[in-house]
């Protein structure tokens, strides 16, 4: 008993609290009391919204409502701790303004558009309010009678986040007002009302003069709205020459609303014929070209031929002409995706279930899934659908790659699965599509220009007729044209699976994919807010009519708008970066050495009880070392010649070439990246011509090496001694491409993706990133990627240093420019498994409590916060922070505003801290 007493006293000291407060449970219902007791009442936020917030707003953004002294709760915090601040609703987002991120050691990654505590209105899925009497109510877009006395506001976001605000401290009525504002602005009914329109028109007028050369990077991604982009695409391919042409029959979208303005068809089909034929297809979508393999098999997509149509000969004729585009006249394979892929409704249902299981309201709910998680995952079926898509894509890839003939993807509307599958096929088959720029262009071409109805599928617009729309579980609107269905998410998940299986072969990262997913909910870009190109054109025309100059839209690919340069670097997979780099060297060194880098750990790799572990590694290493050194000098000279001849040779499609030295190539994101695919566009034969054209200037041997450099940049194919690699690795029955075995050799263009459900990973980074319970500080994939990045940086740096030194040696010239400075890396103190999304709460970083993980201790923690030895972090910390370091609100709060404002962190403990500090009691009962 005496022990308990002392324990309680210590807690009291820590909390600066008179002792009598501890005993009565009811005292703590009033949050004000806590604040007073904490002695920090004076610091409560007193920001005047009109003046202070303006500086934070984007062009075109208007404040439509606000509430002061709102408490924003820490996500999933058992102790209901939170920060008080100003909650502002604008026509773009819901913004929480305070001068300090609550309980955070690390802020989320810089986003120039929204702060870590903001949420865009288009991200809001459902809104719940809680009245004083504790009644929870869901609000619908049509809800009208919102009354005073709202205690709590809970917002469920489309990205699976849950935000909770309390109006306990605010003036009566403010809560109601802001909820009304949110409700009113969150569900637009017309895309012309989208914030993007406001933003781009205002931004254009503001920034006409300040256009700089800084955004060159964005121009790399072709948008495929101009003929040039398409020409570039089909002219560069030898396999397509003369057989396919670009048609502009739908340039004004008069023929078909859901077809792109420009598209590619067999050259033998006349415009007149197409104009007639287009109406024979569902949704007015003709078969259009997507991709042609060097073996001249192509990939096309279309909608179903109209069932009621009698003009079968039209369809036949088109197919004939497509067949003729293949000189070998192989038969077309029709893939009916309606039968092979899940229906839109199934996907929507599944996604809804996924959402429910990934948005636990509290920890108990989360832990309840314990033991059921895998079967839940199975009943959700999401991964089965992902597997299904990959499987279909793989079938297509096998067909095309083995030269069996052209594949035509068919689907009722021709805008959903066709886009998904055609993209996946191209990613799997074509290495150039695995770079960030390549992938971006692909998505732009197949999804955006291909007229995937983003507005409808993502449910961006509210369709007023059916209020049931907002209950996805009862989405009875079975008609595919109005059906909400996250096909794009399935696609991104497929890309994620490819990434996990072949992490060295793709340039993008998981962060890039989630950024894309988030981009669909960021109505600043014109990329994801329209159903089709016609809609986009009309909306923009309307907008332009009111103005003298045409306004310029912003595409999501213009990442500079959203992220600073250093954040964009997180898009690039460091393993891929290094791999490219190795290859550069590996191909310029003798085969044995080149292979030893990649495979020498295989020698000692876990074989079953290998008794004959000989020091092969050493041998290989030493041979490599010497070879690199001896060859390096001559290599550097021939690299120089490559460079000069490359820059002088004409570049047929206007891409940037290797401009300085080859070593620099991989680490110049995003400009440098273009090199890969521009070189990739030309297949080995054209690469050879470059090499041959100046082989007179250097000796033959060097010329060959040069060629290897050029090609090696693109295809790892040219590894000269695949046999060595093969022997050192477990290569299973190489005859069959069974998906169960490690069938992919490094030097294989086509990815062998494994599609079995067993091999698919749950994409935690996208779906669970807001679930703080499973956050690991210093753990998870993110810190590893950080490390890999550092390693890659160092490799790049060292390599360029070598280059520099070699140049000095060869020329005897010390005036060669010094190696470029190291790329600025993101300095991060703590990286968690959900970096850069979920900020680390002080709670976890201090390691004072671990309640989030272990049931056992959580019960205890509710009582005493911590044991006597560790002081309570709550209020203490807060005091400490408000004085010391300069406050840093991550997003756009200016220092002046920060200084003007102050904030307060409220420690609200709904779980009473009363019961006799019985750690021991609880321990036994908790188990």
């Amino acid at each position: 008993m005496s022990m308990r007493r002392t324990f309680k006293l210590k807690v009291n000291q820590v909390l600066h609290r008179p002792q009598h407060h501890n005993s009565a449970a009811s005292d703590h219902d009033d949050p004000l009391k806590d604040i007073k007791l904490a002695g920090a009442y004076e610091h409560v936020y007193q920001l005047s919204p009109s003046s202070e917030v303006d500086g934070l707003l984007l062009p075109g953004e208007i404040t439509v409502g606000h509430a002061k002294e709102v408490i924003s709760y820490v996500l999933h915090d058992e102790n209901r701790r939170g920060t008080s601040g100003l909650l502002v609703c604008t026509n773009f987002r819901l913004m929480f303004v305070t001068d300090k991120p609550p309980y955070c050691n690390l802020i989320a990654v810089d986003n120039k558009l929204i702060g870590p505590q903001d949420v865009t209105l288009s991200n809001i899925e459902t809104i719940y309010i809680e009245k004083q009497n504790g009644k929870r109510k869901k609000l619908y877009p049509t809800s009208r009678n919102i009354k005073d006395g709202i205690q709590k506001l809970e917002i469920h976001c489309k990205d699976f986040r849950i935000l909770t605000y309390s109006f306990k401290l605010s003036v009566l009525g403010e809560g109601k007002n802001i909820v009304r504002a949110i409700l009113h602005h969150s569900y637009p009914q017309d895309s012309s009302l989208s914030f993007a329109m406001e933003y781009i028109s205002k931004k254009a007028s503001k920034e006409t003069s300040t256009k700089e050369a800084s955004n060159i990077s964005s121009k790399v991604v072709s948008l495929y709205r101009k003929v040039d982009d398409w020409e570039k695409l089909i002219m560069t391919s030898q396999a397509m020459k003369g057989r396919w042409r670009i048609t502009s029959i739908n340039e004004t979208f008069s023929l078909s609303a859901t077809m792109p303005g420009l598209f590619v068809v067999p050259s033998s089909l006349s415009d007149a014929f197409l104009k007639d034929a287009i109406h024979q297809y569902n949704n007015n979508r003709l078969p259009i070209w997507c991709y042609t393999h060097p073996n001249k098999c192509s990939l096309l997509r279309s909608s179903n031929f109209r069932e009621e149509s009698v003009q079968f000969q039209v369809d036949q004729k088109i197919r004939q002409e497509i067949t003729k585009c293949d000189p070998s006249g192989r038969k077309i394979r029709m893939m009916d995706l309606n039968k092979m892929c899940p229906t839109l409704q199934q996907v929507q249902m599944s996604f809804h279930k996924l959402k429910t299981s990934c948005m636990p309201a509290n920890e108990d709910e989360y832990m309840e899934s314990d033991g059921k998680w895998y079967s839940t995952l199975q009943t959700i079926k999401w991964l089965q659908f992902v597997s299904c898509c990959l499987e279909v894509a793989r079938t297509c890839v096998d067909h095309i790659d083995s030269g069996l003939g052209t594949v035509l993807l068919i689907e009722t509307l021709g805008v959903d699965w066709t886009a998904c599958i055609s993209c996946l096929v191209q990613v799997l088959i074509d290495p150039t599509k695995r770079t960030i720029d390549g992938l971006s262009e692909l998505i732009q071409r197949e999804w955006i220009i291909g007229c995937h109805p983003f507005t409808t599928r993502l449910g961006i617009l509210h369709q007023p007729k059916k209020s049931s729309k907002f209950q996805p579980e009862s989405s009875t609107s079975d008609h595919p044209e109005v059906c909400k269905s996250p096909i794009f998410m399935v696609f991104l998940d497929c890309l994620y699976q490819i990434l996990t299986q072949e992490s060295t072969k793709v340039e993008y990262t998981s962060f890039f994919l989630t950024s894309l997913a988030d981009g669909t909910r960021l109505p600043v870009f014109d990329t994801f807010i329209f159903n089709n190109e016609r809609e986009r054109n009309r909306t923009l025309q309307q907008l332009n009519q009111q103005r003298t100059t045409d306004i310029e839209t912003i595409s999501i690919w213009d990442w500079d708008v959203q992220y600073p340069h250093h954040v964009q670097q997180l898009f690039i997979n460091p393993l891929y970066r290094c791999k490219r780099f190795h290859h550069l060297v590996a191909t310029t060194t003798p085969p044995l050495g080149g292979n030893s880098i990649a495979t020498n750990d295989d020698v000692t790799s876990p074989n079953t009880l290998d008794l004959t572990t000989t020091p092969k590694v050493e041998k290989l290493k030493s041979s490599k070392k010497s070879s690199t050194h001896h060859r390096s000098a001559s290599d550097s000279t021939c690299l120089d010649t490559t460079t000069s001849s490359m820059t002088s040779s004409s570049t047929p499609h206007g891409h940037k070439r290797i401009n300085s030295n080859s070593y620099e190539v991989p680490y110049q994101p995003p400009q440098g990246r273009s090199v890969f695919y521009c070189a990739g566009d030309e297949r080995p034969d054209s690469g050879r011509s470059v090499a041959n054209s100046r082989s007179s200037s250097t000796d033959n041997m060097a010329a060959e090496d040069d060629e290897a450099v050029v090609i090696g940049l693109v295809d790892q194919v040219n590894s000269r001694a695949p046999q060595v690699a093969e022997r050192l690795r477990f290569v299973p029955n190489s005859a069959n491409n069974n998906n169960d075995v490690i069938g992919c050799r490094d030097d294989d263009d086509v990815m062998q993706v494994k599609t079995g459900v067993q091999y698919l990973r749950f994409w935690k980074f996208a779906y669970l990133r807001w679930v703080s319970f499973s956050q690991l500080i210093g753990g998870g994939e993110s810190p590893q990627v950080e490390q890999e990045n550092k390693m890659a940086d160092e490799i790049v740096q060292l390599a360029s240093k070598i280059e520099h030194l070699e140049a000095q040696l060869c020329n005897g010239d010390t005036s060669v420019t010094s190696p470029p400075p190291r790329v600025d890396d993101v300095t991060v103190q703590f990286v968690s498994s959900y970096f850069p999304y979920l900020a680390i709460s002080n709670k976890s970083a201090n390691k004072s409590t671990l309640g989030r993980v272990y049931n056992f201790s959580r019960k205890k923690e509710g009582k005493s916060t911590t044991s006597a030895s560790a002081p309570s972090p709550k209020i203490h910390h807060h005091h400490h922070h408000t004085e010391g370091k300069p406050p840093h609100r991550p997003a756009p709060l200016s220092p002046a505003q920060v200084a003007a404002s102050s904030h307060h962190m409220v420690a609200l403990s709904e779980q009473q801290q009363t019961s006799e500090g019985g750690t021991y009691n609880r321990l036994s009962s908790g188990v």
Binding site: D370, S387, S605, P615, H629, M791, Q808
Partner: protein, 575 residues
């Protein structure tokens, strides 16, 4: 004929290995085996070997005393060796034109050997069957194996080193010789660390009170001076025995002001039931300074059932798409992982946050107890996350303190017939938990996942003597330590350990708190589904990057030297 064979084997074991050198013994064994069982088939010229992790091999199969060896005919001199000891079950499928023998191994791999003659096939299968179930320890392969590469002096589990570490934190301990010649506890090492103020006599009394003589003994001393101790259940029995010395022994660890926890890894009910068999659990009345926690962890036999199901699922490539995950779940393996991790976190929390000492025991004190003590150390002590530290931990907790490897790992998932109570993958579960930690904190471990896999394989069949025998007494009598090579010295040798290093290792000094949510736990792909695990590719790439970095650095050094030489020459020319 079998009887004859057995008899001659017995003769062999009783005479040869003690006096003659291993090579001769092996020759003898081979002669005997080939004479009696192989008949005319020590070698088959034409055989095919297929396996889930190897490429198809065509060549000649050869049977030796300990291995089935397949030499490839394809000119690349490939060989594949399968240790007989590794074979868990044999399936025979004899057709008219070819005969297939499926070897199901203890490391979950399966191999399929195809030969043409039925006679050969029968002979081979019979021989392997006999040779794989040789019980006699002196005939085990480790006694014949001679390491070809240079080994490092491992010196793991040294008590002096341990004692030195502890003395830095607390001066309350001493090294005792009370267990010399394994007098009081056969499953403890001969020299042990005990509290200074406790006499050997008291320890003797305490060991009489505890099951199998496993009295409370120090496992880990945290930097705040709190300790983890382990023991077996007290033999309270039906007449409520108590032992003052035992109480004193553990109370003295607490000091005057502290309290501690006793974690019993059985449910309260089971623990109380154990009294009828002479066991039991500490009563609060007799141990007032200690708080009891019951955290139910499964017995080895339950784990055995679980892993059988798990392997069945994970190796079933034809499993229906919509069934796989629920089958995985119903194997319950990840549930066991979760429970063990949770218990270990609990203990770590008591130690690190509460500042309380913990005493852990199950019934015998060498199964789940060891899982928890060792995982706690990995969570709390950064030293245990280094390669050497980890091996030291395994040696110290599992080998020296008597985890019965011989019994637990006698058979694996494929063997037919019900497992006895003594069999179960306790140690494998521990390794899986380490794998989970490693997966959650990829930077914090100096070694990588392949080390864990390798250790897991060696527990079932190995050329090294590390995992032979049940306890130190058995090892002592069979002279395992002097006659066999240690796995640790192999793993730590200069040409082996670099391949197990984690290329992104970043030492961190603090604790790593794992997440035990089901969403955070992963199936151990590298062990259970190695044919699909992508982590190997990533690791290979990372490692090659690391190598490449080294190379670059050395190239830079050489080049800068050259440059400076050139500059010097220029200087000279100018002057």
């Amino acid at each position: 004929m079998w009887a004859m064979f057995k008899q001659s084997l017995d003769e062999l074991t009783s005479t040869t290995p003690k006096k003659e050198d291993p090579v001769k013994a092996q020759l003898l064994l081979m002669q005997l085996v080939s004479a009696e069982t192989l008949g005319t088939t020590p070698k088959v010229e034409e055989a095919f070997l297929e396996g889930s992790c190897i490429s198809k091999m065509i060549g000649s199969a050869c049977l030796t005393g300990h291995h089935l060896i397949l030499y490839s005919h394809s000119g690349d001199n490939a060989e594949h060796w399968i240790l007989h000891k590794n074979v868990d079950a044999i399936d025979r499928r004899f057709g008219n034109d070819k005969c297939q023998i499926t070897l199901k191994c203890k490391d979950f791999e399966t191999y399929c050997l195809t030969v043409l003659s039925q006679e050969d096939a029968t002979n081979i299968a019979n021989s392997i069957e006999v040779l794989s179930s040789l019980d006699n320890i002196n005939l085990q392969y480790p006694f014949f194996y001679k390491a070809t590469n240079s080994l490092s002096e491992s010196n793991l589990g040294s008590i002096e080193e341990d004692f030195l570490m502890i003395s830095n934190v607390s001066d309350q301990w001493r090294i005792s010789e009370v267990n010399n010649n394994f007098q009081i506890c056969p499953t403890y090492p001969q020299r042990i660390i005990v509290p200074k103020s406790i006499s050997d006599q008291m320890i003797f009394k305490s060991s009489e009170f505890r099951n199998l003589g496993r009295f409370p003994i120090l496992s880990y001393c945290h930097h705040n001076g709190r300790v983890v101790m382990r023991c077996s259940q007290p033999q309270i029995g039906t007449n409520n025995r108590r032992c003052k010395e035992d109480e004193k022994l553990i109370n003295v660890v607490l000091g005057s002001h502290h309290r501690g926890y006793i974690m019993d890894t059985r449910t309260q009910q089971i623990a109380l039931q154990a009294r009828s068999k002479g066991g039991g659990t500490e009563t609060e009345f007799n141990y007032p300074q200690w708080k009891k926690i019951h955290h139910n962890l499964s017995r080895p036999s339950a784990l055995y059932d679980s892993i059988c199901k798990l392997v069945e699922v994970s190796r079933d490539k034809g499993c229906a798409v919509d069934k796989w995950r629920s089958r995985l779940e119903s194997s319950n393996w990840l549930h066991h992982v979760k429970e063990v991790l949770t218990a270990s976190c609990l203990v770590s929390q008591c130690l690190d946050k509460e500042g309380a000492s913990v005493l852990i025991h199950c019934a015998d004190g060498f199964d789940s107890t060891l899982q928890i003590t060792s995982l706690t150390q990995i969570i709390l002590n950064p030293e245990c996350r280094t390669l050497r530290g980890f091996l030291n931990l395994v040696e110290k907790e599992w080998i020296l303190y008597g985890h019965p490897f011989r019994e637990r790992c006698a058979r694996s998932v494929y063997s037919v017939g019900k497992a006895s109570r003594d069999e179960g993958p306790t140690f494998l579960l521990f390794l899986d938990c380490v794998h989970q930690l490693q997966h959650q904190y990829p930077l914090s471990f100096e070694f990588d996942g392949s080390l864990l896999c390798q250790i897991a394989r060696h527990t079932y069949a190995s050329q090294f003597g590390t995992f032979l025998c049940n306890n130190e007494l058995e090892r002592f009598t069979s002279r395992v330590r002097s006659k066999t090579t240690s796995l640790w010295s192999h793993l730590l040798s200069d040409d082996v350990f670099p391949s197990y290093l984690n290329p992104v290792y970043q030492p961190r000094s603090d604790t790593i708190w794992p997440s035990v949510a089901p969403q955070s736990l992963m199936l151990w792909g590298e062990l259970f589904t190695p044919f699909v695990d992508p982590s190997a590719v990533t690791r290979r790439c990372l490692r090659s990057n690391k190598l490449y970095l080294h190379e670059l650095r050395s190239t830079i050094n050489e080049l800068s030297k050259e440059v400076s030489q050139l500059e010097e020459q220029e200087e000279k020319l100018k002057t």
